[in-house]
Amino acid sequence: MEYALSDLIMFTPEVYLRLFIRFNEAVWPVQLLALAAGVAIPVLLTRQSMMARKLAVALLSLAWIACGFGFMGNFYAPINWPVAYFGYAFAGQALLIAAVAGAWQPPVRWSPVGQRGKALIALWLLMLLVLPWLTVAAASDGRALPFFALTPDLTVLGSILATTLVPRAVRWLLLLIPIVWCGFSALTLLALGLPFPIIVPLAGLLAAAVAFFLPDA
């Protein structure tokens, strides 16, 4: 007898999907702030002002902290103990983003006119408004809607997209924790047999691979 991947998962899909419902009930109306941040970040990144772009970086850092100590620390970690460590890693990533993209190598301006800029807008909107419904579909319950800046998979995917704006020489620094998380989350969702939500971390892995090799804008 060999261990199957599902043998390593200590909770059921029902318990996982109900995390989103319980979290949304607990933090309402913070979701509105998260949605506002999801709109504000790309808008700020398109500004000429360096201060505006640094503000976007600060919002992104806050998103990682909110995920790490909110959803992950208080809701997900009690049923999946490795997530407690990821919660701290998310806080570390927030500091890393602030140090690398906020101070050392700030992001270039997100030009919304070029092909690359338009593709990035399309992907961001997909992340913010479309992909969350995959979890809703899995749960068959609208209350299970995950949010960028509050739940990890969407936050990580959005951050990987934003990473393409920092110089390629330092981009890998910002991709390490997102790649590890996406791998962990994808394996977890695979073991749980949740084919819809797994699309988000898999998209994260694909985006990270592209971001790693993508030349500077």
Binding site: M1, E2, F11, T12, R18, F75, I79, N80
Partner: protein
């Protein structure tokens, strides 16, 4: 457990015919059949043959809706005469949820509480047991096991001392999926164990070769985990009909088929299916009533499943 003569122990010690009388729900059950128990070799006490596992099923975090639902599952377990509940600190929030469910049902004195040490180091092991007692709301466990032999030499000394001091009644070791079988067998042969827990079901029968005979020889009670292969047995066979002779083997559904195959082995003391559903719990618990298949019927059962 508050004192040695708890309600559960008093009642189980006069099992047999009285076993029916101690749980009113049994009297009220439609079948009114005899509760099947097996003897724990170390003490001679009887134990109901169907226990309850908590792997995956009781790890619901702080979710109040699911905690209440799991409490109903545990309530059904007790109503059918269930005794042994097994958990592990590896199972996330399962032990905390169990503690809440036991408190809600006020059943601390009725449970045969079995858990595991799953850490390294003597002091960490002792502290883990104390923390688990707090989570379950118990003064002591009936059974403490070393989970998957993790740091077993250190914990074995601790457990033997705890048993000698009356801080736990029985001690044991666990494995699943057939891991570290040689070590497992060596420990069974050399250490004064009361229980072992291993994987045994109608398809995974490797324990029959050496471990189950050794358990009988050494007077060690056996808990069978993964009785449904983590649910895969139902996925594979539930759509198939039961054999025409199932009734003769005391079987009326697939849950009883799988469980009665296990607990009818002479060396097996108890099987620990896990479920999130009251309905499934009711089906599982049916396996500890009525008659058990004999040796020929067991082989017939195994053959039937193999050929499906």
């Amino acid at each position: 457990m508050i004192c040695n003569l708890s309600r559960r122990r008093f009642l189980t010690s006069v099992a047999g015919a009285i076993a029916l009388a101690r749980i009113p729900a049994l009297i009220a059950s439609p079948s009114n059949r005899d509760l099947i128990t097996k003897v724990i070799p170390a003490s001679g006490d009887p134990l109901a043959v169907i226990g309850m596992g908590t792997w995956r099923t009781f790890n619901v975090g702080h979710d109040p809706v699911l905690i209440e639902q799991r409490t109903e599952v545990l309530k059904a377990f007790f109503q059918h005469g269930g005794e042994l509940v097994d958990s592990s600190p590896m199972y996330g929030s399962a032990e905390a949820v169990l503690g809440k469910a036991l408190a809600a049902l006020n059943r601390h004195e009725d449970v045969f509480a079995a858990t595991k040490i799953w850490t390294r180091g003597k002091q960490d092991g002792i502290e883990q047991v104390e923390e688990l007692e707090r989570l379950w709301g118990l003064d002591r466990f009936e059974l403490l096991q070393i989970h998957n032999l993790l740091d077993w030499r250190v914990h074995m000394d601790t457990l033997k001392q705890m048993r000698a001091d009356g801080k736990v009644r029985y001690i044991g070791i666990t494995t699943s999926h057939g891991r570290r079988l040689d070590d497992f067998e060596d420990i069974m042969a050399s250490e004064p164990l009361d229980f072992v827990q291993l994987t045994y079901n109608v398809l995974d029968r490797w324990a029959e070769e050496r471990l189950l005979p050794l358990a009988r020889e050494r007077g060690i009670a056996v808990i069978a985990n993964r009785p449904f292969q983590g649910g895969q047995l139902f996925s594979r066979f539930q759509s198939q009909p039961l054999p025409a002779w199932a009734g003769e083997a005391g079987v009326s559904n697939w849950a009883e088929f799988f469980l009665k195959f296990i607990v009818s082995h002479p060396a097996v003391t108890c099987a620990i299916p896990a479920t999130t559903s009251v309905e499934h719990m009711n089906e599982n618990m049916g396996a500890q009533f009525g008659m058990l298949p004999d040796a020929d019927q067991r082989e017939q059962m195994a053959r039937y499943v193999r050929e499906l």
